[in-house]
């Protein structure tokens, strides 16, 4: 035992020694020749490993590939950053240049640290499996399902309540509650009579939904402490062993509890099991740039890659919804924490400090809605960023007792991550500052850039592609960073100035957009675009008139052109497109038979489904002799389901003689019909998994680059055209 401990420590000590040696080697100044040879060879090795990783799927091999890619990239990046720190800082060009140059360097240093955190998290992701439940229902814990809601339309909550009440679990041990913070006494007695009436009407509808589907309805006196206060209030009315928290738009699959509850039975110290937030509607970028069908969802990078990595280090955390919490721990903590506006991560931190653990099960089991508009997206991201920074400031993980070192480190990273916004602002400002004001930001020659910056950049692209290529197209992250940069930065500044000032703002969901309009939050990006475009014009002028600095001007102009494409892409996101469809429709694969009023039965496949309808693809020669009409009533028979569903044809599209696409709106005759519709659309976690995997088709670096450039051109210019043609400011939103 003692020998084993000594061996373990020796091994770790040797590892540390090797790390120090490699760091020192990465700082050795060598000739360009040597630097180029070493860099080229390592890049070649990196490319080889990357390509091998795409053909060899063995997990053990993948682990070796993963570490090789990490260490080669770190080595090349360290060499670059050392060169940046020691050779390229513009300390000789005046105070302004020095300050701007240092800011740029800080932005790059931020990128390095962020990359190191990313590598650390992803060094060995943990692919957790669910555990089976005991056969004896008596051994199963009692589950309380909380569906907090505030101001969302009841139609958003309705499918969630239906799905929650039909999850596979003994009925006597499953209690579903709508926690209505929009129907509090405070809201219903608002001094504004119209608001009060609206709150009362909404509460009445929710009560009806609860009563109709066998759920409970809970509300409270006052709206204190936002979501955490809402949940804590409900705790006094319920007494389940486990709490399943579902945002009101997060429709659970039938097997949610079957997949997750077993983990609690196996580990009494487990506090939370988090599952991915799976979305069946596009975010504003996907919607306005029309990438939703092909591109992986933005949040998948976090839920599909980062959370498994965090889980391997025991630091996956509660994300506010689609997670089960142990009630006894909540009681021990005195309720869900509410010091910050990210009560979820904060509560996890508190539980961890008491020795409880977290788990992440990477299986999509909810179907949720993304914020429809850019403004809603910003509200959501600013809240996350502010909350994480609040946690770092108000509950500094380095001062909270009981945490492990790695937990402290990674909770630091959760706050540190949001620095990307400020770094991106600096990166956007850097090229025009150089081109317009001739402020030197980096003192480098072409050979310096080729020797140090080139290998680092290529290694970073390759490693990013390796780790995230499946769930994020190349350069899409930059686009997401750009659209968040300004407002997240402002939000973080607010937290730094007054850490307790931010209040919880609910992400608006289920919004309808009746017309195209430009988001009122666009103006900073006009400034960026104008400044960068001016930079390009000045760059052309300087290129033609300052032949002595052509290389540097050309390099920065290339950078500026890239930024312009990203900014145009961002403008494309901010041109909100009209959206009329009310309920989200998810891809679906299930055999179906459609019976017409005259008794004719046609077979086909259900290709997509929503809470209110389905899309069928009918095939067969019979299609040639049948006459379809919009508005016709039909009945749908699903082979594995016990009863038919009535529907009305609302759309027809013939592909060829033997293939017909039919759009149907369900005609519910009873509650069971609606339950069945929800189950078809959102009940299968296997279906959700398939849907996600369908979008996990990565793009090459070159293709990704081309996509971003084309999106910028097409949608950015469309934005500008819209401005010119409409000559109207558009609808305004307030954060």
């Amino acid at each position: 035992m003692v020998f084993s401990t000594i061996t373990k420590h020796l091994r770790f000590g040797f590892w540390l020694l090797l790390i120090l040696l490699l760091i020192n080697l990465s700082w050795v100044s060598v000739s360009y020749h040597a630097q180029l040879i070493v860099s080229a060879f390592l890049l070649g090795g990196l490319l080889l490993v990357y390509n091998l990783s795409r053909v060899i799927n063995n997990l053990n091999w993948q682990q070796w590939f993963r570490l090789l890619i990490i260490f080669i990239t770190i080595f090349l990046t360290f060499r670059y950053m050392h060169w940046r720190a020691t050779e390229s800082l513009p300390m000789q060009f005046g105070l302004l240049s020095m300050i701007c140059g240092l800011l740029l360097f800080l932005a790059e240093a931020y990128g390095l640290v962020n990359m190191l955190f990313g590598f650390f998290i992803n060094a060995q992701p943990y692919h957790r499996k669910s555990l089976p439940l005991p056969a004896d229902p008596a051994q199963l814990p009692v589950i309380d399902v909380y569906i907090p809601t505030y101001n969302e339309d009841p139609s958003v909550t309705r499918p969630t309540v239906i799905a929650a009440t039909q999850m596979d679990y003994p009925a006597d041990k499953l209690h579903v509650y709508i926690l209505d913070d929009g129907g509090t006494v405070q809201k219903c007695q608002d001094v504004d009579a119209a608001k009060a009436q609206a709150a009362q009407d909404r509460a009445a509808v929710l009560k009806d939904i609860a009563a109709e589907f066998g759920a409970g309805y809970l509300t409270r006196e006052r709206n204190l402490h936002a979501k955490s206060g809402n949940i804590n209030s409900a705790l006094s009315y319920t007494c389940g062993d486990l709490l399943l928290i579902l945002d009101c738009d997060h429709i659970p699959t039938r097997d949610f509890l079957q997949q997750t509850v077993g983990l609690f039975l196996a580990d009494p110290k487990l506090f939370v099991v988090q599952t991915p937030h799976n979305f069946v509607s596009p975010d504003p970028l996907e919607r306005n740039l029309q990438t939703y069908e092909q591109s992986p969802a933005e949040n998948e990078l976090f839920y599909d890659v980062m959370q498994p990595g965090l889980d391997s280090w025991g630091t996956s955390f509660f994300c506010g919804s689609a997670a089960i919490l142990r009630r006894s721990v909540i009681d021990e903590l005195g309720g869900v924490s509410g010091q910050t506006i990210t009560e979820d991560a904060e509560t996890t931190l508190d539980a961890m400090s008491r020795g409880y653990g977290s788990a992440y099960l990477n299986k999509p089991m909810v179907s949720g809605l993304q914020p429809e508009t850019y403004a809603g997206f910003v509200v959501q991201r600013v809240r996350w960023g502010q909350g994480m920074l609040q946690i770092f400031i108000l509950k500094n993980p380095w001062r909270v007792p009981g945490l492990k070192l790695v937990q402290r480190l990674l909770y630091t990273n959760f706050a540190f991550y949001w620095g990307f916004a400020s770094a991106r602002v600096i990166m956007l400002l850097a090229p025009p500052m150089f081109l317009v004001f001739s402020i030197n930001l980096c003192d480098a020659t072409a050979i310096d850039l080729i020797s140090y910056a080139g290998p680092c950049l290529l290694a970073a692209l390759l490693s990013t592609q390796y780790f995230y290529g499946r769930v994020r197209w190349p350069f899409m992250s930059q686009l997401y960073e750009v659209i968040q940069s300004v407002y997240v930065t402002l939000g973080l500044i607010e937290v730094v100035r007054k850490p307790r000032s931010p209040s919880f703002k609910v992400t608006p969901k289920g919004e309808q957009l009746n017309e195209d309009y430009v988001s009122s939050l666009t103006w900073p990006f006009y400034l960026f675009l104008g400044f960068t475009s001016l930079g390009i014009v000045m760059g052309i002028h300087r290129y033609l008139t300052e032949p002595f600095g052509q290389a540097a001007v050309a390099f920065v102009m290339f950078w500026a052109v890239l930024d312009v494409m990203l900014l145009l892409g961002a403008l494309g996101v901010m041109l909100e497109r009209k959206q009329l469809r009310q309920s989200p429709r998810a891809p679906h694969d299930e055999k179906v038979q459609m019976q017409l009023a005259d008794g004719t039965a046609l077979t086909g496949e259900c290709r997509n489904a929503s809470a209110g309808g389905a899309g069928l693809l009918l095939t067969g020669q019979a299609l040639n002799i049948v006459r379809f009409k919009k508005g016709s009533d039909v009945q749908l028979w699903f082979p594995d389901r016990s009863r038919p569903l009535s529907a009305k044809i609302i759309n027809l599209k013939r592909h060829d003689k033997n293939t017909l696409q039919v759009g149907l709106a369900y005609q519910f005759s009873c509650v069971e019909d609606e339950r069945m519709a929800i189950d078809i659309a959102f009940g299968s976690s296997q279906q959700l998994l398939q849907n996600n995997q369908r979008r996990h088709q990565g793009r090459s670096i070159v293709h990704g680059f081309w996509i971003v450039v084309s999106l910028g051109f097409i949608y950015g210019l469309a934005h500008l055209r819209f401005l010119l043609s409409a000559r109207r400011g558009g609808k305004t939103e307030n954060l």
Binding site: K8, R11, F12, F14, W15, L18, I19, L21, L22, I23, N24, L25, S26, W27, V28, S29, V30, S31, H33, A34, I37, V38, F41, L42, G45, Q63, W64, L67, L68, F71, I72, F75, H82, A85, T86, Q92, F93, A123, Q124, Y126, R128, K129, L131, L263, A266, D267, S312, G314, S438, N440, D443, E546, P547, F548
Partner: protein, 755 residues
Amino acid sequence: MAVFDLQAGRLLQGLLVMMFLTLMPPAMAEDDKPVIAESRFSSQQATVILPLSQLTGQSGVKRLTGIEQTMSWGLPVPALWQPENVTFNINGMLSEALIQGSQLQVMLAGKVIAQQALDGRQSRLKMSVEIPATALKSGFNAMQLRVVQHYAEICEYPMAPQLWTEIDLQDSYFEIEARPRQVIGRLSQLSRLFDKASWQAHRQITVFSALTENTDHLAALGFVAQGIGQRYDYIPTSIQHQPLPDNRQSLSWPMSDSQRIAILVGRFDELAGQIDVAKYQQAGGPVLALQTLPGLPGRYLLLVMGETDAEVRQAAASFAIPGVPWPNSDWASINSLDIPTETSLEQRFSLPTAAQGAFPLRALGFNNQTVTGMDSPPLNLQVWNNTWQGRMQVRLHLAYASGMASQSALNVMTNGVLNGSIPLSNPQGGVYENYAVTIPAGVMKPGWNTLSFAPVMIPQSHGGECQPFFPGNLAVTIYEDSTIQKFGGDELRRLDLASLNGNGYLFTEQPLGKGIAFHIAETDSSTISAAMTLMGKMSQVYKRPLLNSRFVLGHEVSEDDIFHYWVGRFAALPADLQSNLQLALPDNISIDVPLMQSATVQVLEGAEWFNSVMDALGLRKTPPANVTQVGIQLSGDFDRNGFALSSQDDNGQHHIVFTAEDAKLLQDTLHTVVDYGHWGQLRGGLAFWSPTGSTVYAVSYDDAPFSAYGLRGGLGLWVSQYPWRALFILLGLLGLMVWLSRKLLKRHQQRNQQN
């Protein structure tokens, strides 16, 4: 500490003349060579012969090549002399290939005053040109010799080697007949009386004052010395102190024939025997006045007077400031003189630290300079390096003209070693705002270093092959806001005599001489003469009056003093100072002779950044270089020499001592050492010279080049030399790292992830 020294303009040409005069060995005065006629300047007409070599600062011949070339110089005409007949005799050789159409032009102030065909059939060049005396003005007159040379009627290669004319600089000379010129004795004419344009190499000024130990009086003498030094700018000047004579007639006897002005310093009551002070006394306050010596037209007496010694000091201080616009009258009283307070000057003189100092070339005395034409001389900049091992970076702001060939470049060299070449290759011309050239450790030696900006400018068309030749628009301007920065290195704390050479004040000067004290060992005229000569020289070195410096008797020490200049005979120096010097006159001197220098050169390793931070925090010092030296004690005729020594006492005070066996010898040796040739030879910790010799004997560590380097580390060098081996080892380390990380992660997984 640094000084900029370059060839440009008339003033510098004058400087070179003087330098040459000093450097010229005695053999120059051989009978068959033209020399400066021994001065017989009185009120009578005199003749002077000025060889061209003296005016151009060059010896031997000047070879004018190519299809067209010009040589320039300045012909000085003193304000107190009126040239009457000036003949320019040109001697030399010319190429036998020169054909009709070749010619030599003599130009004065841009106008051709004479020309002669250059005929290759007569290979000797001999030409005598009468220069119209009326066209010559006081000061430096721009003169040029321009040759236009041809060897063929058509298809001529403009740079053909047979196109040459040689001007013999020693055989070509000016013969000037002149008579003294009366200058109106007005204070507004002071600058004409202290005239830089002269036919003499060395100025001598007599200062009369009472012999007294009064502090204010001594300070006044110090200011007077500064005023003299400032007015002569860069020209070596000896100041001869004389006690006040009994009567006015005796004022002229100590003055040599060449002296045109003397200065009288004292209170009204002290000067009453020599001059009529009544009208000045009536005006009250400090007074500056100008008089002619009776019966000696062309000779002047400057009076620095006051009711009290304090007023005399104030009058002298006002004289020390060369920019004062004196009225057009023969006297003026100074009602007030507000010298900037030391506190107000502190910030204006906040200079960078030695190791990390960054400063513009302007701070080194460099002004915007444009170099034009082919074969243009380099711009040289003297940089005082007071650190070991530090590297330096030069960031140049320059502009170059359009029309130059792509091979054109500006080479940056240090001590003759090329450090970087800046392309001037764009045919459309261009501007570099901050072109950085790094001068690595080891190239810069401690002490004075010559930084050269050597333009190589080539026109786009060379002509030849019947192609037209265009001299091109060849020009490059280096701006004074270009910067120099030193990085790292260990500050050299030992004061070297070489730092006296030039305006090497960057790291030593406090506001207007604050912290500098001139100590006079005794108050006899010889010692005062020596001290005033030194004071005048130092104000020239610093290029501004040292109003905050102190000129005191003996060991009077102020807390602010850091640098002490001692002047006195050896026996009169304080005992503690004597014991600190490597000198025991008249018996012996002790000298450390360096044999070898070695240094631990910092190799750029991975830890350089860390080391830099540690350096900045003061937590780490670069290991100093070592000088291996032998100590030797010598006895001999040292009682015939003057000595300069530098030392540092236990309190960190720097002492520079000028001494000799006796006061007269000290005065003579000081008058000698302020000359260009001698002053430039001062270096090391001990130097000595004879008042009549041309050599200063000195030795410093600079004489022993680095001969041993201890390379610390060297991994970077090894990797650079064997990149493939390094790569192999790196891959091994990375593999080991991956393997070990995998083991550790697996273990972590087994321990923490049970299901």
